[in-house]
Symmetry: C2
Subunit: 332 residues, 2 copies
């Protein structure tokens, strides 16, 4: 491994001068800079980030704590975050919690020991617990996309989940549906449900409690199971809201398996607008979040915190929009 010393030797200067040209400090005389850069190129020198990290206290790594990689919504978000982060030279240390709070605790502590510069936390159902730890660890962080009520002053970039639910409910109401059911992950998605209920209430429609089914599985299969049961118990239902697209894809499948045509016999609407929604059969009507913006604002926010002496926490809430495709239609 070639070090700063080797470069200095070759360029006939001391390592401090090399350090100065690497860090583009404008104190170096052009001629010297030239010589140093030459030496760097010849030797193929590239600064050791670990050493720099120890000296500056910055590792240039951001910890990403996500519930699972099984939901495309998260993976789409992660890929975007990676691109936003790399612009400023940050790398990603990835941790998937799988919803296990003890594992998450362990992961957070390890991240701290790795001198992670900051943390992007997703909502895995245990945020409030993680928040305590993260604060105790004094790790700069931003909550990304989380739904639950968060204490004021917590830095969070998220969507207006209630609004998303509202848009879904409103769409069905305007189509004329009255027999509506909900398949969802609760309590995680309670705000989405709340929004939907509010939109329906404006048309004097109430969702009967027995038609709100919670699935323990976060997967498409969870949607299949829940919807199959739901349609058996309540065959009169004309529309189903799934609190996220992966579940909606399962609902679509359950509809097909029980002989219902979508949207003729049953309307289905999701939330998230994952890539697979557009290519579903039929293409899924859903509520889209501005995910690029979520990624960008999350890293802007976090990097802002890192630079500020006295962090100024703020809450950002991004607005969703309805994406009408072919899985919804008026009831017969």
């Amino acid at each position: 491994m070639v070090t700063i010393k080797d470069v200095a030797l070759r360029a006939g200067v001391t390592k401090q001068t090399v350090s100065n040209v690497i860090n583009q400090r404008p104190v170096v005389k052009p001629a010297t800079r030239e010589r140093v850069q030459q030496a760097i190129a010849e030797l193929g020198y590239t600064p050791n980030l670990i050493a720099r990290g120890l000296a500056t206290g910055q590792s240039m790594m951001i910890g990403l704590v996500v519930p699972t990689l099984a939901n495309p919504f998260y993976t789409e978000l992660i890929e975007r975050l990676e691109r936003c982060l790399e612009v400023d030279g940050y790398g990603i240390a990835l941790c998937t919690t799988d919803g296990d709070p003890d594992r998450a605790t362990q992961q957070l502590v390890t991240l701290k020991r790795r001198y992670i510069d900051g943390l992007i936390l997703f909502d895995d159902g245990n945020v409030s617990r993680h928040l305590d730890l993260v604060r105790q660890l004094e790790l700069p962080f931003v909550l990304c996309g989380s739904e639950p009520e968060i204490p004021a002053g917590t830095p969070v970039v998220t969507f207006d989940h209630a609004r998303a639910g509202y848009l879904a409910g409103e769409h069905l109401r305007e189509l004329g549906h009255r027999e509506i059911a909900v398949v969802g992950e609760f309590p995680a998605h309670r705000m989405r449900l709340y929004g939907a209920e509010r939109a329906l209430a404006e048309g004097s429609i109430a969702i009967r409690p027995t038609r709100i089914v919670s699935t323990p599985e976060k997967s498409q299969r969870g949607g299949v199971r829940a919807a199959t049961q739901l349609l058996a118990d309540h065959p009169e239902v004309t529309a189903i809201i799934a609190t996220h697209d992966l579940l909606a894809l399962g609902v679509l499948q359950a509809a097909g398996a029980t002989g219902r045509r979508v949207p003729d016999d049953l309307s289905v609407i999701g939330i998230d607008n994952i890539a697979a929604a557009a290519s579903a059969e039929p293409p899924l009507t859903t509520v889209a979040f501005p995910i690029d913006q979520l990624a960008q604002e999350s890293v802007d926010h976090l990097l802002g915190l890192l630079r500020l002496t006295r962090p100024e926490p703020a809450a950002v809430s991004l607005t969703p929009r309805l994406v009408v495709r072919e899985s919804t239609a008026p009831p017969h």
Copy 2:
């Protein structure tokens, strides 16, 4: 941040002694150890991994270079790798290349600068190019799950892709299909195709070149498009092999959209056995790889390389098995 010095001060020893108890060196007198551990607990001390990394030359981070997070096969693998790695205290630095070789080059160089201890490389279509760089960087690595022919002596843990293709072809042959088409990602999956062709040849069946369609899109949508076109051009086809499950899911969808029932009108078989395959409609017949074993052997292999002075590269090839579900049946 509390440091080793603080602990030493409190325990009334020098920091070297603290270091000795942390690293469980059996040279410390029990009484001293006790005192030090007490101090560690009281102060909540936890060693700074960056500093340790600089001193030992080990960052305890493994770089993971993957093509995309959009294919569940990769994300399932990543989650498993994470679990295998954390047992030995290693964290993951994640890079997605998106198939862009220049970006990948940049990522590899940065990984090197971060003093990554080792690298797990997935096949993103540019392995041979990456291999040159990785060797030049002197980064210990293992190729994970890759398909292409790799120079002898390269450490690789993978599946027998040709065998997977063979099993798919054999299954269709045994069911009595003769009009067979293939939807795949080529050249990436050429070995899978080769295996399928070999199995079919044993029944004197040849796949006509025009019935082999390559999709540029790695997604489910790519499968939909390719299969739709294929079925329009070759309506006589009774079975389709998709070179991976995500594509197969798309084929299933295209079949439905063009009014074909699976498996009555068309048999569909995939490869990979991603979680979604089991819950597809109908459940997808596929060829399963032992993914847990792939993850475990990959990290065993890499960690082995890290520990050995003179690395002993080896090639491991894991055997796939056929998983018959409901998307395949004899032709009419």
